[in-house]
């Protein structure tokens, strides 16, 4: 892999007009990655999902070089119908379109930040890989007091014309004071067996509101890793919803720093898995200041030999008095072969706090099925009704009515 990395790195550097210093920084990141390799189960955070092994078994040898000189044709059929929205379109890792047609142009700024390096407090070797190979990186700045009229949908599409086995993406967002953004990530892959490595960084200033919905629904054979870093100032609110379903392997990591007082974070997720899919959500909520609040709800329905992992951590600093932290994960195992692993973690250094977590996993309740069947439903219908209700609970947590309906329709959940 090492030779391939060097070769592909040199190729990708050639196409970019970078200063000597930037090349050196990228080189440094590359060396870091070569040194550490893909995360494996010896690392505590990857205990339940050995990415190194998963890549080896599913993809084999990776290649990293993408030629971004030529453009791809944007296939408009993938766009969401019935909801007016702004668009960013990624095709095979290349930004093809940025379109804020419904917004005031002077309120949103798009800044090229390709030269800056992302540094996260709890990073892993994948952030080095990302830093070494991302070519273009934009920062989207929503200016003070501006609230986007329509949601922004980011289309992540890949197709069979993809150059290499690995795609690295990076986007930064800054929400200035009193601004708000609704953001939907929609994955649509037709490529075969690629590794997608996505890093988002959000900076939420005072009173700003971010709603991020990540939807990975369409069946595909890809392996995905997505990392969201959210820094929150006073009174800001972040809401994250993850639908984890389509990819072969997917790991979503949310690292949320509640730095300002009264900042709050909501994180909800649904795993709906079949075949031998293996998905993970790992969340770290850092309560750094007083009166901060976090709420997490994760529900999983696992069929066949699928496997879901939830690692959630609530960290409370000694200054963060009056913290309210809550975390609940529930799983239904439908098949003998399915598996649910959880590591809900509390690390608390302040005494005047209210923190709790709960985790439960088991089969569908036979008594409930019996009840429904005695009312005339078939076994299959009863089962579907129960699962529907189980997942509806999480979807109902979505605060935006438009998007709630969109997601409900997408995953076929009835009220």
């Amino acid at each position: 892999m090492k030779e391939q990395l060097h070769k592909d790195f040199n190729n990708s550097i050639k196409n970019l007009s970078l200063s000597q210093k930037d090349i050196e920084i990228k080189k440094f990141c590359l060396d870091n990655f070569i040194d550490k390799g893909f995360p494996n189960k010896k690392e505590e955070d990857w205990k339940f999902s050995d990415l190194n092994q998963i890549i080896k078994n599913n993809i084999g040898e990776l290649s990293f070089f993408n030629d971004y000189a030529s453009t791809n044709k944007v296939d408009t059929s993938v766009f969401v119908d019935g909801l007016e929205h702004n668009k960013i379109v990624f095709i095979n890792g290349r930004i093809e379109k940025i379109d804020f047609e419904y917004e005031k142009k002077n309120q949103i700024e798009i800044i090229d930040q390709s030269e800056t390096i992302n540094e996260f407090k709890n990073s892993n070797s994948l952030s080095d890989l990302n830093n070494a190979f991302t070519s273009k990186c934009f920062k989207i700045l929503v200016k003070k007091g501006y609230q986007l009229v329509k949601p922004l949908i980011i289309y992540h599409t890949t197709n069979t014309k993809i150059w290499s086995k690995n795609i690295n993406l990076r986007l930064n967002f800054e929400l200035d004071k009193d601004s708000s953004l609704r953001l939907i990530d929609l994955f649509n892959d037709t490529s075969e067996k690629n590794f997608l490595n996505i890093f988002y960084n959000f900076e939420l200033k005072e009173n700003s509101v971010l709603k991020n919905y990540k939807i990975d629904k369409f069946e595909n054979k890809n392996i995905k890793y997505s990392f969201n870093n959210i820094d929150q100032d006073k009174n800001s609110i972040s809401e994250t919803f993850i639908l984890s379903s389509g990819s072969n392997f997917s790991k979503n990591e949310i690292n949320c720093n509640l730095n300002g007082v009264y900042a709050s974070a909501f994180m909800n997720g649904v795993f709906s898995l079949n075949n031998d899919k293996h998905h993970e959500i790992r969340s770290i909520i850092n309560h750094q200041n007083e009166n901060t609040k976090s709420y997490q709800l994760i529900k999983s329905v696992l069929d066949e030999s699928s496997k879901a992992v939830y690692q959630g951590k609530i960290f409370v600093n000694s200054d963060a008095q009056k913290t309210d932290g809550y975390q609940l994960s529930k799983a239904i195992l439908l098949n003998k072969e399915s598996e649910f692993n959880a590591k809900p973690e509390l690390e608390i250094y302040a005494d005047d706090v209210k923190c709790s977590h709960g985790s439960a996993s088991g089969s569908l309740n036979e008594d409930s099925i019996f009840y429904l069947m005695s009312r005339g439903l078939s076994y299959q219908q009863s089962r579907e009704l129960l699962i529907n209700g189980f997942l509806l609970d999480v979807v109902e947590k979505i605060t935006d009515p438009e998007i709630k309906n969109l997601i409900k329709n997408m995953i076929g959940i009835k009220e």
Binding site: Q321, A331, K336, F340, I348, S361
Partner: protein, 480 residues
């Protein structure tokens, strides 16, 4: 005079902090094959036992000290320890209590453990372990009548060789983790219990551990075998003198429950926790593991952890037999600079297995407390159940309380439920108690005892009273 006064003041905080001036035989300092041979030789062990030790030592040489845990500690120099220390008077083992060194009797009396049988009202058989050797076992005759074997493990190696050979290392193999392997190589004494088929042990069995000599590591090994349909309740208590240096205590406890047998194992751990600034104290790195080997068997761990500078232990149950049950009840209290990383592992292998975990953690001062546990339901463990509840109470904003559960469910017919909360004592509760005439400390004591009640109830009567007092003492000075 000043020193004397200081000592008295110190003893107020930790009343077991005295040391006994007694002549010792010690193994040469350090750890190598010769020391292991020395220990084996002095214990007059058979060849297989020496081989068991040397095999463990071979393994130990390639193992590295673990570093993943939360409580960090300065590196231990394993060559700077005495691995064997015994009162000289024990060289030729006294045949009865009358021949026992009066100084030893005095020590245990001071600890509140009278060894004279007539002095006991409640009939608990005690095996007293002083540094590296067992000094006395009481009520032997009465137990022998029922066929129960309760003796120091060094005696069992000689007299009940077959049993020991069969079960020793069957739950904690010599190739286990760092400290367990070290123990396998150098363990000196401990208790051995065998309850024959169908016998319900008529009294509580108890071991009392005491570290006396300085620079000594205590490595005891306990092996309890409950044969088919038998029952035993076993208690363990520990204390050590106050010393400025840290001392290592790395014990191994193995429990084996055959068909329909039940073992109840209770610990009140009150090793010297170090002084207010975190100087000294015992490193308590213990491996405790129970195997529910037969069907319908049950193992129940109850622990009250108030002592030690660092406690690092996870009493575990391997639920191999069908319908077997594992239970874990724990109270861990840390104050000043104490650190505790404790919890349990419940490994469900058999069908219809059940486990229950109740853990209560209280941390005060500048201490740090972690619950770390694993519940693993394997794909064959049909219809299994686990319930876990871990609650933590924080007093002050310099301490920490953490919960790190690992939950693995590979069986769709099994259920796992886990709950955890962290909070502080509410002002309302305190106000209510104080309004009724309690001072703040008494009020906290009362509330904490209520918080721990679920676990305290699991302890045998005499222990429960003791433990309740201990809970109060451990938290002294943490309010206000």
């Amino acid at each position: 005079m000043d020193n004397r006064q200081k000592e008295i003041n110190n003893l107020k905080d930790y009343k077991y902090g005295f040391s006994t001036d007694i002549e010792n035989i010690q193994a040469p300092k350090g750890l190598d094959e010769d020391v292991i041979k020395f220990i084996s030789n002095i214990k007059k062990e058979p060849q297989w036992m020496l081989e068991f030790r040397l095999k463990a030592f071979e393994r130990f040489k390639v193992l590295k000290e673990p570093d993943w845990q939360k409580p960090k500690f300065p590196k231990i120099d394993y060559q700077d320890l005495y691995y064997y220390s015994a009162p000289k008077s024990m060289k030729n083992k006294p045949k009865s209590l009358d021949e026992l060194d009066p100084k030893l009797l005095e020590t245990y009396k001071k600890l509140g453990i009278p060894l004279q049988e007539q002095a006991r009202l409640n009939g608990i058989a005690v095996d007293a372990v002083f540094d590296s050797v067992s000094v006395a076992t009481t009520f032997k005759d009465e137990l022998t009548k029922q066929g129960i074997i309760f003796c120091p493990i060094s005696e069992a190696i000689q007299n009940h060789s077959e049993l020991v050979k069969k079960y020793l290392g069957s739950v904690i193999p010599t190739s286990d983790h760092f400290f367990a392997t070290l123990n396998s190589a150098v363990f000196t004494d401990g208790s051995f219990v065998y309850i024959p088929e169908g016998v319900r042990c008529p009294m509580e069995l108890s071991t009392y551990f005491r570290i006396n000599a300085s620079n000594t590591g205590q490595f005891e090994r306990t092996l309890i075998i409950a044969d088919k349909g038998s029952y035993v309740s076993y208690l363990e208590g520990c204390t050590a003198p106050m010393r400025d240096e840290n001392q290592l205590h790395a014990a191994n406890v193995e429990l084996i429950a055959l068909d329909d047998a039940e073992i109840k194992y209770s610990t009140v751990q009150n090793w010297y926790p170090g002084d207010k600034d975190g100087k000294g104290g015992i490193y308590n790195f213990v491996t405790k593991r129970g195997l529910c080997k037969g069907k319908n068997s049950k193992i129940s761990w109850t622990q009250v952890e108030t002592g030690s500078a660092i406690t690092w232990k996870y009493p575990s149950c391997i639920l191999k037999g069908d319908n077997s049950v594992g239970e874990f009840y724990s109270i861990a209290i840390t104050n000043n600079h104490q650190k505790a990383d404790t919890g349990t592992k419940m490994i469900h292998l058999g069908k219809n297995t059940k486990s229950k975990i109740i853990s209560k953690g209280i941390s005060a001062g500048s201490s740090d407390m972690t619950y770390r546990g694993l519940v693993d339901i394997s794909s064959k463990a049909k219809n299994s159940n686990n319930y876990t509840q871990c609650d933590s109470l924080l007093m002050g904003n310099k301490c920490g309380a953490h919960t790190v559960p690992y939950i693995k469910n590979k069986n769709s017919e099994s259920n796992i439920a886990h709950e955890a909360t962290t909070s502080k004592i509410s002002e309302e509760q305190l106000h209510y108690c104080q309004q009724r005439g309690l001072n703040p400390e008494e009020a906290v004591g009362l509330i904490v005892n209520g918080f721990c009640k679920e676990v305290l109830q699991q302890l045998p009567m005499e222990f429960a009273v003791e433990a309740q007092k201990l809970v109060g003492i451990s938290l002294e000075g943490s309010v206000g």
